[in-house]
Structure formats: C-alpha cells, structure tokens
Subunit: 77 residues, 6 copies
Amino acid sequence: MVNWLPTLKTTTPEEGYDLAVKLARVAVKLTQPDADARDRLRPEYAEDSGALIAVSQVVATHFATVAVANGYWQDRT
Amino acid sequence: MVNWLPTLKTTTPEEGYDLAVKLARVAVKLTQPDADARDRLRPEYAEDSGALIAVSQVVATHFATVAVANGYWQDRT
Amino acid sequence: MVNWLPTLKTTTPEEGYDLAVKLARVAVKLTQPDADARDRLRPEYAEDSGALIAVSQVVATHFATVAVANGYWQDRT
Amino acid sequence: MVNWLPTLKTTTPEEGYDLAVKLARVAVKLTQPDADARDRLRPEYAEDSGALIAVSQVVATHFATVAVANGYWQDRT
Amino acid sequence: MVNWLPTLKTTTPEEGYDLAVKLARVAVKLTQPDADARDRLRPEYAEDSGALIAVSQVVATHFATVAVANGYWQDRT
Amino acid sequence: MVNWLPTLKTTTPEEGYDLAVKLARVAVKLTQPDADARDRLRPEYAEDSGALIAVSQVVATHFATVAVANGYWQDRT
C-alpha cells in the first residue's frame, strides 16, 4: 500500500467519517495481507453483530482523531 | 448515504447524544450494507446484553467527540 | 425520552459520575426500547462479571467527557 | 454510597492510580448493588485473565482522566 | 528490544500509521517474548475476524497518540 | 506495593512505553493480589491471541497518558 494517507484533512465531516472507516480497515489488511483470506472472513463477520459493533468502535476511535485534525469542521457550522 | 453528516454541531447535549448514536450506527451500515441482513441481526443483539453494552461503548466514544465539537454546550449552563 | 440531558454540568465529581452512569444506560434504552426485554436481560448481566466490567468501561468513557465539561471540578479542590 | 468522590485531586501519581481503581469498581457496585452477588462473582473473575485485563482497561481509562485533573503531577518531577 | 522507539515524530501520516501498528505489536512481544509461541498464534488470529478487528482497535488508539505528537501533520495539508 | 509510581516522566519514548506496560500490569495485581494465582493464569493468556491483543489495548491507553505527561518527548525530535 503506497500513499494511501496523504493527509488527515477532509472537506466535510462525512468525508472525515469515510476516512475513519478506511483507517479502521487498513490495520486489518496489514495484519492479514492475504486478500483471499480476508474475503473468506467477510461473510462471517458481516453476519456477526458483535463484529459489526467492534468495527464501529474502531471507526469511532479514528473519527475522534480525524475530527480533531480538522478542527471539528467548525468553519462549516 | 448522501449528506447524512453536514455538521457535528447540535443545539443541545441531548441532540449531541442522538448524533453519537447515529454515528455509531452508520459504521455498521457501511460494513453490512444489506438492510435485510441487518434486520436479521437486530433481534439477536437486542436480546444480548453484551452487544447492547458494546453499542453503548461506541456511543460513548462518539459522544466524547461531539461534545468537544460543541464546546460541551457550555453556553447553556 | 424528553429533556433527559439538559447540561453536562454537575456540582460535584460524584454527581458527574452518576451522570456518566446515566449516559451509559441511555444508549442501551435507545437500542433496546422495550422495557420488558431490558428487564429480562438485567438478572443475566448482573451476574456476569464480564458484562459488569464492560458497563464500567462505558461509564469510564463518559466520565472522561463529563469531567472535562466540568473543568475537573477544580474549583472544589 | 455517599460522598465517596469529593475530588479528583491526589497528592501523588500512585494515589491517582488508586483512585482510578476505585472509579472502576464503583460502576460495578452501582450496576450490581447486591454485595453477596458481587462476592460470588469475585473468585470467578479473579481466575479469568480476560476479566483481569478488562478491569485493567477500565482503570487505564479512568487513570487518563485523573492524570489530567492533576496536571500529570508535573510539579513533582 | 533496544532503541526501537527513538521518537514519535514521522514525516507523513502514513508513516505515523505504520508506527501505530508497531506500537501495537510491541506490547504483544513484551507479554509473550517467545517468538515461536507468537508464530504459533499468528495463523490462528489471522483467520479470526474478531482478533483482526481488535488489533485494528489497538492501532487506532496508538494512531491517536502519534497524530497528536505530530500536530496532525498540519503543515502538509 | 509502595512507591511504584513516583512520576509519569520518562527520559525517552521507549521508557514511556515500558511505564505504560507497568501501569497495565499493576491493575491486574491489585485485582488478583495472589501471585500464585497470577502465575497459573500466565501460561494460559500468553497462548491466547485475544488476551495478548487486549493487553496491548490497555498498554495503548496508558501510553497515551504517559505521552501527554511527557509532552510527547518533543524536545528529542
């Protein structure tokens, strides 16, 4: 993976949220680099509410970071 | 999902909490985009105290972010 | 639930802690709105140390937020 | 429980850590107020590494809050 | 392990993310210093979505720290 | 345990990380004070990837606190 995170800046809170989702996924890719293995896991956790909530927790943690980096997009409010 | 998060600003702490709940749910939708699959999961985790507490944890993390973005609604106290 | 969170301000750290407990519980109510269902879950998780510790984790996250909102009650020390 | 948390201030980092442990335990007491029930759970989770680590996580979250409230005890360094 | 963390500073957000991954892994090494034992665990958790998400959570927590240490790489935006 | 945490200050980020590991372990000792019991648990969780990752999460949370207390060791960069 090259140059996938040039900046933490986003134009809108929504794009910031999407970046948080991306940040959550990359750690999984780095820990399990085999795309086929990840594909095998996907149907499993997509049907597991515990896993989905845990993903949401990771996103929340990253969103906190991205929000600070963007000054909470205050100039838009 | 388009334009679901125009701002992190809310008028009251209560609306900020509701926004945190929304932020927690969207990550689940993005990870499991199939609404039918999510509907199948709902009765299961709604009866699972561990899942309910985990959801509450995600909400707490997002609420922390939303509260900062709103200056803890200090002007209302 | 109407007007349950008018402010994050509390007079004492102890009241701040109680507010954190309340903040932790409301997300559960919003996710499982059926009071009977929640009552069925209570005896189960009240006897489950993992669940009790998880609740404590949510309270800790909210208490962090409430403490900042109150300037750590510094004027009382 | 009355007046168990008069302040977040402590003299030393060590006392701050002890306060974090206390803050972690109180949420358990408030969720399971029955002392006998808590006593029944104790031998179980004291032999469960997952539970012990989870307790340590709650303590870490509270310690972060207590440390800020005390300015990281900077005047002692 | 000697001198593995000379600084929290990185040139880019991406390198900051890589550092967060490293920070997450070192605690595992310090708790399970036996490289063979860690090698035995790897295939197991690399096929376990819960474990992969949990790793991502640890990375998220460390990334928050690294991002602050680097001023969110604001001079690059 | 007496005087185990005189300060949160460390000379290097690496020593800060070691302190975070120590902070994570002390809560386990305080919750399970019996050294023999802890020794019985060790082989179990040292072979459990979930437990190792959970330990890493606690370390991450404490490292965040220690890093702030040390101004992210900025004068070293």
